[in-house]
Each structure stands twice: as C-alpha cells, then as structure tokens.
C-alpha cells in the first residue's frame, strides 16, 4: 500500500520503496501476527540524535491507564507469543508496574526496551525487582563501547550512567549465563553509515565490555537508523540525506522481505492507534491506511493484509535487514 506523502528533494532520482518492491515482484503482506508492540509514549529523559520518534524530556504524550486497560483487554482476547514494551522511556510512565503485572501472565516473552539511564534514576529502583520477578526480558540501548561515539548520539554523561546500570543489572543476574534473566543490547550506528555485521560486532562488544568493565550481556542486535524524526532532521541539515538514502536503496536485499518484523507485529501507540510497526507510527502511517483504535480490534490483524510502506522501509531491507 502506497501512502501519499511529499518526498524530500534530496530523494530525487532514488527509486521509491513501493516501486522497488513492484520491480522485484515482491509483495509486502502480513503473515500471522505473533508480537504485540506497545509504545507507551514519547516522554524520555534523553533526546538521542538518532531517535526516529523525536522523543525527549519535553514531550508529554504518554499512555494513560484507561488506554492501558484496553491494551490489556486486547492481549487477553488475542494471544501473543511476544509482547514488546517500548517508548520513549517506558520507565517514566506512571502505570508501567500495573501494565507489567497484567501482561506478564498473558505471554511467553514480555520484553521492555530501556535506555538504561531512565532506569538508573533513584526513584526507579523498585522497577528492577519487578522486572526480575516477572522475568521481563530487557533490551537495552548501548550503541558503542566508545564513550565519544555513545555520547555523541545519546548525550553527555550517558556512558557512565549506562555502565552503572549494566553493572546493577548484572548483579541482579541479568545477562548472566544460566540465570534465565535475559539482557540484550541494541546498537544503532552513531551516524549516517550502516551497522556492522552482527556476529562479529557482538564478539567485539562482549570482549570490550568484559575487558574494560567486567560486564556481560546475552545478545547484541544491530539496526540501521531509520530516516525519520530527529535523525531525518539531522541527515537533512548535515547534508547526509541523499548519500544515506542512496546507501540504503543500493543495499536493498530482497531476501529480507520475507522476515521483516512488520509482517508478524502490530504496534499500538500511546493513544491506542494501531500501526504495522514503530517506524510507521513515527511516520504517521496507520495500519491499513486508517486510524483504528485497539478497542475496535476483535482479533489479530488479518493475514495477507498489505503493509503500509514509506521510504524509511529501506532501513529494514538494507544488507542483512531488520527482522
């Protein structure tokens, strides 16, 4: 499904994502939906320069308790193998503990994305025990083992607080082999370039974190930055937009399309509106091209339903892809 949106002039001469799919006889359609992603809002203690949602401390959009209850009711109506809580910084949303208690019994894998610094705040220490009690899988942002690069992306002082938080999580058992408490790291490139090869980068991150700080984690996931939100603004202002998009378009790998996360995921925004993924949420491209509230959805989104696409989709199909 092609959205009607104006394209940035820097994208002139580059094939539209929808046309690229068509040229390669590829259809991007929904498979069985197994993951429910819940975006609790744009409020965040950081204002990362690569953020596709332009989240930050001055944003006020967060999910309220009545909407959370509708999300919980949906997760009770329909079984999801995985529930993935994201933001902003979910830790800053007041009703997060209640949401976790309600969702944990409803799924095999309850995941929460953390930027580490929001969890590091003294008044959030109760969340650690809650996460451990409910075996919440933590997905922590940690873009580089180099302080300069990490802080260029996330802000001054973030390296130290991230390392301190990782230390606390390791002490609790998170990221320690055999504990059953999973701690995964996510790294986005700190600029307009593609991510490293996953296996090799994971080896290096594990070596660096163990050698420099005695820290451990389970797996590293590397994702290309999506040209949306604050990152898109930076690409445009810094004169990197054309070259970055050219790289993403040139790196289009048809083999990634089958395994794209949007085929098996439905994303709910803080206001209850449904999207194919968090990037479409940022781009304001709702599920099936119309604004549907979670309370209106009786079952899973229909199989074979077309996924709404935009130029940012190239970030998920370049190289080994975003699955």
């Amino acid at each position: 499904m092609k959205p009607i949106k104006n394209r940035a002039p820097e994208l002139e001469g580059l094939s539209r994502f929808a046309d690229t799919l068509e040229k390669q006889n590829l259809l991007l359609k929904r498979d069985e939906t197994t993951t429910l992603q819940i975006n609790l809002g744009l409020l965040c203690d950081l204002a990362c320069r690569h953020c596709h949602l332009s989240a930050g401390p001055h944003r006020t959009e967060i999910m309220d308790w009545p909407t959370m209850q509708q999300v919980i009711a949906y997760a009770e109506r329909v079984h999801f193998k995985t529930i993935d809580i994201t933001g902003g910084a979910p830790e800053l949303v007041p009703d997060l503990p209640e949401l976790i208690r309600a969702l944990a019994p409803l799924t095999q894998r309850l995941m929460l994305r953390t930027n580490l610094t929001a969890l590091y705040q003294p008044d959030k220490s109760h969340l650690l025990e809650l996460f451990r009690e409910h075996r919440v899988i933590l997905i922590a942002s940690f873009p580089s083992t180099n302080s300069g690069q990490l802080e260029a992306q996330r802000g001054t002082g973030v390296m130290d607080s991230s390392l301190e938080m990782l230390k606390q999580l390791n002490r609790l058992g998170y990221g320690i082999e055999g504990s059953g408490l999973e701690l995964h790291l996510v790294a986005n490139p700190s600029g307009a370039f593609m991510p490293a090869e996953q296996e090799q980068a994971e080896r290096k991150f594990k070596q660096d974190l163990a050698r420099k700080w005695g820290l451990s984690f389970n797996q590293l996931y590397l994702f290309a930055n999506a040209p949306l939100g604050r990152f898109l603004g930076w690409l445009s202002q810094s004169g990197n937009l054309h070259d970055y998009m050219e790289k993403l378009v040139g790196g289009f790998n048809p083999c990634t399309v089958d395994g794209l996360m949007c085929r098996s995921l439905v994303s709910i925004a803080w206001d209850g509106i449904l999207y194919d993924c968090d990037f479409n949420l940022a781009a304001d491209l709702p599920l099936n091209g119309k604004r549907t509230h979670v309370s209106e959805l009786k079952g899973l989104p229909e199989k074979e339903q077309a996924i709404v696409v935009g130029e940012h989709c190239y970030a998920c199909t370049a190289g080994s892809g975003f699955t």
Partner: protein
C-alpha cells in the same frame, strides 16, 4: 584541469576496466578476496586498509576505509590509534635514517 581528486570519482572506479577488462576483473576479484574474512577479521583488515590509506595518502582510499571501518564496527578511538601507528612508523623510518647520517658525518669528522 581543476578536478583532481573528486569524491564522485570513487564511484566510477570500475571504469578502469573499460580498456583492460581482464586485468580489472583479476584485480577486483583479488581485492575482494583479500578483504574477505580470513585469519584476520574483516574489521581488522579494514583498520589495516585505513592505516595504509594514510601511508599512501590516497584521498579515495581514506574515504573508502573511513566508512568501511565505521561500518565494520570500529570506533573513532581505534581508527585514530591506527593513524598514529602510521605516524610512528613513518616518523621512525625518518629518524632511523639519522643513524646513517650520524655514521657518515662521524666518518668525515675529527
């Protein structure tokens, strides 16, 4: 001629095969094999490539291997250290010739 060393030229590197395709093919195949993962990782090879690029002072190579290093997971501290290795060896190579200078000077001096 005012267009030496234009960044866009790098994209046309394969044009070098236009009048000597067999040689170009052999070169590019060899080049690809050299930089593939082997006993050294692709990341380590890119760092060596970055260092050599500075040694031969090729702006195309510096651009290509700066990007390659970042995309293979090296950070700026590692890349800067690699350039210092170049500098140390280049500086050392000059300095060690000072021994030759001293030997010659001492031979003809009282």
């Amino acid at each position: 001629m005012s267009d030496y060393y234009e960044s866009e030229d790098l994209k046309n590197f394969s044009d070098i095969g236009k009048d000597a395709p067999e040689l170009a093919e052999k070169f590019f195949n060899y080049y690809g094999s050299v930089f593939a993962e082997g006993e050294l990782t692709a990341r380590e090879k890119a760092l060596i490539g970055l260092a050599v690029s500075h040694t031969v002072q090729c702006p195309y190579c510096i651009e290509a291997y700066t990007k390659s290093c970042l995309e293979k997971g090296s950070n700026l501290a590692e890349m800067t250290e690699a350039v210092h290795v170049v500098n140390a060896i280049r500086g050392g190579a000059s300095l060690v010739h000072g021994i030759q200078m001293r030997k010659l000077a001492e031979k003809v001096s009282l």
